[in-house]
Amino acid sequence: MNEFLTSIGYMHWVLPMLLLVPTLGAAAIWLHGAPGGPPGDDDVASGTAGAPRLIALVTLAAEFVVSLGLWWAYDPAVAGWQAAFNVPWIPSWGIRFSLGIDGISLMMILLTTSIMVLAVLGGWTSIRRRTHAYYALLLILTAGMLGVFMSLDLFLFYVMWEVMLVPMYFIVGVWGGDRRLYASIKFFLYTMVGSLLMLVAIVYLGLAARSRLTGIPDFSYDAILATARVSHTAAFWLFGAFFLAFAVKVPMFPFHTWLPDAHVEAPTPGSVVLASIMLKLGTFGFIRLAVPLFPAVATNATVRAIVLTLAVIGIVYGALVSLVQPDFKKLVAYSSVSHLGFVMLGIFALTVQSVQGALMVMINHGISTGALFFLIGMIYERRHTRLIEDYGGIARVVPMFAAALTVVTFSSIGVPGTNGFIGEFLVLIGAFRTYPVYALIAATAVIFSAAYLLWAIQRILFNALDKKANFHIPDLNRRELALLIPLLAGIVWLGVYPEPVLRRMEPSAERFVQSVQTRAIAQNQAPAGGIE
């Protein structure tokens, strides 16, 4: 495999190709044009949805195939960025179109490309209006998210960050549920406030790394990491700006209240993309930018205590609030707050195990919660309700749906043998070394997560089949099975044999932990100057 990939020069073009393919797909949908009828028309019923969604499916399938080569071509033993692609973009501002990956972004890219294919399938029949616009936006969204994961230029990172926000805003706002406008504006405001501050911080950093000879700023990640000198005070505020941008995205308690609304109102593929990938952009931001750029601040005892406290509150709080949600989608949304709290705990506990665990939780949450949202979408399409109390006993009517939901539930609970366990276990066992009390409190989530999810699936799948509207729900069809089986396979594979994934991420995770620790010590010792 590797020889073949080398022979076609795969690592030279793969990353720009991954951005180009969805963009071309979106352009193709544009060229194909919108159907003639009024925008409110049901495109699925009239057959006009066929072309855009087929283009999107083929494009994203091709995207997935292109990205898959990275699994073999990426060499974990090699330090530094791989598949690098670096050309000047706006030379007078020192902005470059610079891409590259390490083991962490590798897995995030693969997660993104695989989930996006399934997301198209997930909305196959439920997205019925303005399908051409929807699928084009979905493709732009893909490019934006992948761009964030592979950007090695901070300005490019910011551009990609915004590129991905706007399509999601439209997807929630146009194709969402009844309160879609409220939800999308809340989502937009929350994230814009954070990301604008991030832009200021990025410009500040670019100027701080400017060349002494020419005075041209430098936004390249490596340059800022190596040469940007900021005072302790400035570093604190810059960290704060990044923190806010990413904490909203994660979302960390108490910046999370946009999430339940956005999740509930978003159409199924929107919820899946939000949960599976977009939340990870926040935690990825911590791993890539906020923590390594300001190691002294991130490892400062007080800062760490605050972040860890918020993370652990998120874990327990998210689980407890999930317990009492009458809406299944909202329940899963709050459970994300809990799961992402584990990621934050893992990152800031700063041990190899906890960071690897955090990365695993990111992947696992992408699979399991994505699958949960798909399943909710499937049953919603049939019954047009997300309220748990409207169901009951449907395992008798839809046995395959029930089996799939049960497996995904146990994965989300973190039963060993499923992927969910690996992540939580590694986070906790790693965090226990540095912060035993936080880990101990966080570990109580194993009880709460079982409580809220088992109670929910009991009221949906089990108990008496006593509501007439549920008597005739059709079971999963072949399209739905086709999109669930890869997710179920992932749940078992990553639970039983996660070693190939761990091995690819380990050197990057180790470098992250070590460089943050050593650079934090160095920064604390050497007095840093501000911008001259």
Binding site: T23, A27, A34, V87, S126, R130, A133, A136, L137, I140, V159, V166, L181, I185, F188, P254, T257, L320, V321, L323, V324, T351, M378, E381, R382, R396, V397, V398, P399, M400, A403, P416, I422, I429, F432, R433, L440, A443, T444, V446, A450, L454, Q458, F462, N463, A464, K468, F471, I473, P474, D475, L476, N477, R478, E480, V496, Y497, L502, R503, E506
Partner: protein
């Protein structure tokens, strides 16, 4: 891949023998699970339409009530169309696994002085930094005993299930779960490190959840399954913390590597005590001890063979196995050992009192199981690991027999009700009585089991229970436990107290078991005239396994005869199990014994005499006091009064937990966290507090969105193309 890496296991004398196939022992039931699961799912499959929206709209049309017949028809007793496949595969994989286990056992026996465990490493599971967790199995004398019990008793219960469950429409699903359970149970006992053991530990809990709620259309059953899982999770929290403590301090979770460091454990230190206590918290969940025993009686909602296999013979004994496996940890933590003894003895006594006043035949057996597990914990807590495992084994025989016997009774009662179309409680002993005339084989076998559990010689339970109590008594003098203090009390006092509780529980055991037998099989029959005509013995596929268990329950004591018996009577070898397990638990036991020793032969004889006298008097009391003739069927019975009512309501512990823990959790979550903090404080005050900003933006947004929204999507695409264009421009000068 699996077999090849397994072949490189190395120089252990067992390599290359039948024991080298140990990986196949759990994989066989897993295969059974896959086949039965596939049968269950595919035969249920009726694919939905490609567009479910269209379908559900169409389906709304004929919601006149007549159409839902098929949904309800599934509930009627119709045999599954692939039942024959399941009948062969389900028990078949267990028979194969048992034969393989027996072959491995013979191979182990053939090696003289086998001291090193036989470890096969298959692949690396979680390698992260200095943490390394392998998927590896460890076959030593302890896991061998457990594998034999699990596959042997499991095989019998699988065969019994064919008769018990064949008519159930969910038959393949049932066997899928049951096979999966055995797989996880075998992973639990064969796993070579704590995380792998934990896979089995939670996996059996998962299967227990699925099987308790097997008839999920009844809310009570689904509730019971959920309760079992969540309560177990409280224990699992302890298990996790114990693992974290081990790794943080000793850098490994592998049994052999940890045991190698056992010398470095600070004897009686806070760390090792905490580790042991957190593990024990896990045990109280899985093995239903105070304070987490509450799930087990509810677990009786599952099919009765499940109760026999999971909630009596195997899964619930996992905690006992865990302590025996971790003997090197518990032997270094005498305070933890005393805690185990106290909790075990209190549970043994407390559960026995509740068992006195239950009417549901399975509930009696459930509390009996909780009580007997208490004995096992007294044993392993006292460092009598062999005695604990011995009682685990004999208990597996006689309790599986009791449950399956009760299953036969329920099966027959149910059939009788079915014939006469009566809806009554087929498990309530007040509706039974006099069944010995109709079910002679079951009656005799159940009496054997009753005598065994009551501790009447020469039945198996007598030997194992006596060994636990006798060893406990001997620990009161000179052992490290006796020298330690527990909540200020000297260890000696604690041990004597536990011994007294153990004797009291033995008395109660004899009473409640005799009560069960009298009410079920003796006295006048209370099933009703019409129903009586349909009472008969269960088919041979069910009584056959019972007979085998009956023999084991009768002579199981032979596996570990005490010296005081073999000296007097030439019954067989002395301490077979003790010698067998010595390489695994011998060092741990020696550490607990310390400067203490065996009790004198005279004292030992006296203790035995007291124990037997108590058991006999328990039976005598029950026979004299209880009057089966005065019982009336459940429907006509008046409610209990006074303390009897407290017992019948299990001391209201469930209600207390509900009021003290469950309800406050929900209330705080709903009213304080969700409505208070989330939607009230954060959203209401902070987010919408800046409402004018939101409204302004909303207004701008609405202007921005007026009419042609799609246009804006295209503008976005254009923007991206422009950006790419700019980039292109800067590359080409």
């Amino acid at each position: 891949m699996l077999i090849q890496s397994a072949a490189s296991a190395g120089t252990n004398p067992l390599a290359g023998t039948a024991a080298g196939w140990m990986w196949a022992i759990p994989l066989l039931p897993l295969l059974g699970f896959l086949i039965n699961g596939l049968v269950a799912l595919t035969s249920a499959a009726h694919f939905g339409p490609a567009d479910p929206t269209a379908a559900s709209h169409a389906a709304h049309g004929d919601d006149d009530g007549a159409g839902h017949g098929d949904a309800h028809a599934a509930h009627a007793s119709t045999r599954h169309r692939f039942a024959a496949v399941t009948s062969i595969v389900g028990p078949g994989v267990l028979v194969a696994a048992f034969l393989l286990a027996a072959a491995a056992f013979l191979a182990m026996r053939a090696v003289p002085d086998l001291s090193a465990p036989f470890v096969q490493r298959y692949f690396s599971w979680m390698p992260v930094g200095d943490l390394s967790v392998d998927v590896a199995f460890r076959l030593d004398q302890l896991s061998m005993v457990m594998v034999l019990v699990v596959t042997g008793v499991g095989m019998l219960i699988h065969i019994f299930s064919v008769g018990y469950m064949r008519e159930d429409p969910g038959y393949p699903r049932y066997f899928a779960y049951l096979n999966l359970f055995v797989f996880f149970m075998l992973v639990l006992v064969l796993g070579a490190n704590y995380p792998l053991l934990f896979i089995g530990w939670e996996g059996v809990g998962l299967c227990s959840y699925l099987l308790i709620g097997f008839w999920f259309s009844e809310k009570a059953n689904a509730d019971a399954g959920k309760k079992a899982f969540i309560v177990n999770r409280i224990g699992d929290f302890g298990f996790l913390i114990a693992m974290f403590l081990l790794f943080a301090n000793y850098g490994t979770l592998d049994f052999s590597a940890l045991q190698a460091q056992a010398g470095a454990f600070v004897f009686g230190g806070p760390l090792i005590t905490a580790i042991a206590l957190f593990f024990f918290l896990g045990c109280t969940g899985k093995s239903a001890q105070i304070p987490l025993y509450i799930w087990l009686p509810d677990a009786m909602a599952g099919p009765t063979p499940v109760s026999a296999l999971i909630h009596a013979a195997t899964m619930v004994t996992a905690g006992v196995y865990l302590i025996a496996r971790s003997n090197f940890i518990f032997a270094a933590a005498p305070v933890a050992g005393l805690t185990v003894i106290v909790v075990g003895a209190l549970t043994a006594f407390f559960a026995a009192t509740i068992g006195l006043k239950q009417w549901d035949i399975k509930k009696v057996l459930a509390y009996s199981t909780v009580s007997q597990l208490g004995y096992m914990f007294v044993g392993v807590g006292a460092g009598a690991y062999v005695a604990g495992i011995f009682h685990l084994m004999t208990h597996a025989f006689f309790k599986a027999l009791l449950f399956l016997g009760a299953g036969s009774v329920i099966h027959v009662m149910h059939e009788a009700y079915h014939h006469t179309h009566r809806h009554d409680d087929a498990q309530d002993m007040r509706n039974m009585g006099g069944l010995r005339k109709h079910m002679k084989v079951t009656w005799i076998l159940m009496w054997i089991a009753t005598l065994a559990i009551s501790g009447i010689p020469p039945f198996s339970g007598f030997f194992s229970k006596d060994e636990i109590l006798g060893t406990l008594f001997s620990r009161a003098d000179g052992s490290t436990l006796a020298q330690a203090h527990w909540l200020g009390l000297p260890g000696t006092v604690v041990i004597y107290g536990a011994y007294a509780l153990g004797l009291a529980a033995a008395l109660l055991t004899a009473i409640y078991m005799t009560r069960l037998m009298l009410y079920t099989f003796h006295g006048p029959n209370r099933t009703g005239e019409q129903e009586r005509a349909h009472l008969h013995e269960a088919p041979w596929v069910m009584t056959g396994p019972l007979v085998v268990l009956g023999i084991l329950a009768a002579v199981g004591g032979w596996f570990n005869l005490p010296e005081i018996v073999t000296r007097a009577l030439p019954l067989g070898p002395t301490g077979l199990l003790e010698h067998w397990l010595d390489p695994v638990v011998g060092a741990g036991t020696a550490r607990v014994v310390g400067s203490g020793g065996e009790v004198a032969a005279g004292t030992e004889g006296l203790l035995i005499a007291v124990a037997v006298a108590i058991a006999v008097s328990g039976i005598a009391i029950a026979v004299t006091v209880l009057k089966p003739a005065r019982l009336v069927p459940k429907a006509q019975a008046s409610p209990e009064q006074g303390f009897e009512r407290v017992l019948n309501n299990k001391y209201y512990v469930d209600e207390i937990y509900d009021a003290a823990v469950v309800r406050p959790t929900y209330d705080v979550s709903r009213n304080l966290l969700w409505r208070g903090i989330d939607t009230g404080l954060i959203d209401g005050l902070l987010v919408n507090g800046s409402a004018w900003l939101a409204r302004l933006t909303g207004w701008i947004g609405s202007q921005f969105q007026s009419g042609q929204l799609g246009t804006y999507a295209w503008v976005l695409v254009l923007g991206v193309l422009l950006v790419l264009g700019a980039f292109h421009h800067s590359v080409l000068p």
